[in-house]
Amino acid sequence: MASKVFPDAAAALDGLLFDGMQICSGGFGVCGIPERLIDVLVESGVRDITIASNNCGIDGVGLGKLLLTKQIRKMMSSYIGGNAEFERQFLSGELELEFCPQGTLAERCRAGGAGIPAFYTRTGVGTLVAEGKEVRNFGGEDYLMERGIFADLAIVKAWKADESGNLIFRKTARNFNEVMATAAKVCVAEVEEIVPTGCLEPDSIHIPGIYVKRLVCGAPYDKVIEFRTTRTEDAV
């Protein structure tokens, strides 16, 4: 089989990028973000991207870089706090923003990846999020109809992969990466380590290789921490 392992992030995205494309990106804050792949997006100059991602990195970090280069036309996100440029572009009208509650965003991507075009949720009923959406009553309660999201490309960050694309995430760096890997025609994953096929425990794989078309090892990583909070020995 043509190997899924690519020598670098640029090679892993080669031929997959086009103006106006839709991308699902993993990550929460700047935890578990596909930073090597994002750097390639920046270098590629691809424009008018729509990105479904919980947030847009922070200023100048992660997807935040694509805000500075104005390559993003629209974000589908639950949170813009901690990113001044995001807020500025949104308020000035330069950037389109579809606010999506965090759980609804996760479920929309899960639905898209699972062949479900729409589902109903209680989240957002009676709020701004409900505007323009169908409201339907089931068992005496109102629910909103939300649509699945299925993008052209998913970019995710995992901890380990085997050469056949099976992925394992680490701690809360899993976050949106797991669901985003399923929610696009092509998923490209960057990982900290690629091991030979057969080295991962089959019961412990978070994303089976069927979802992952291309892989790149992005190590070494120098992970950014947004809020480094600590306690002292005697505090607890």
Partner: protein, 211 residues
Amino acid sequence: MGWSRDQIAARAAQEIGDGYYVNLGIGIPTLVVDHIGPDQDVTFHSENGLLGMGPFPLEHEVDADLINAGKQTITETANSAYFGSASSFAMVRGGHLDITILGAMEVSEGGDIANWMIPGKSIKGMGGAMDLVAGVRRVIVTMEHVSKDGTPKFVRECALPLTGVNCVDMIVTDLCVFAREDRQSPFQLIELAPNVTLDHVKTNTRAFFEA
């Protein structure tokens, strides 16, 4: 007069039973952790993908891959389990958490809550708040009774964009506690902070409540 932020958190913590699974919002709710008894078995949920959230790490334990929903570094506990965002909110939306405690800018007498946006002023986004108030079985709000300029925050109708409709079950402020039996009932004043009078509460509340 009235309760400190820490005392508000302590009062809210009384609602947490043994064996509960709990999600805490930012602000006063984060202080609730300090009021869980050492013998009490409470599991904290972090909506970015963790059940079993421990305290902040020691300096040498800091791990960039282990943060809470407020993006702060944290630790895990003996019973920790990690999962992705879709599973995390399936848990929230499906009503599997016992309690969420969160802050609010306004709560209406009908149990509506507004805590995510001040138009023209502060737009951070709702994050997981809309999912939490819509999905968690019991929603407790902790907040100052009035805003910095003295405006009552427990009101007839929220003026700010809503986070959720008819979803608040209890409100703990620096002055008192309001609660209701179910979501068809009006709020009732069930407790006054020390040296706070009913009249004082009434003066500082725009919502209808049973006294």
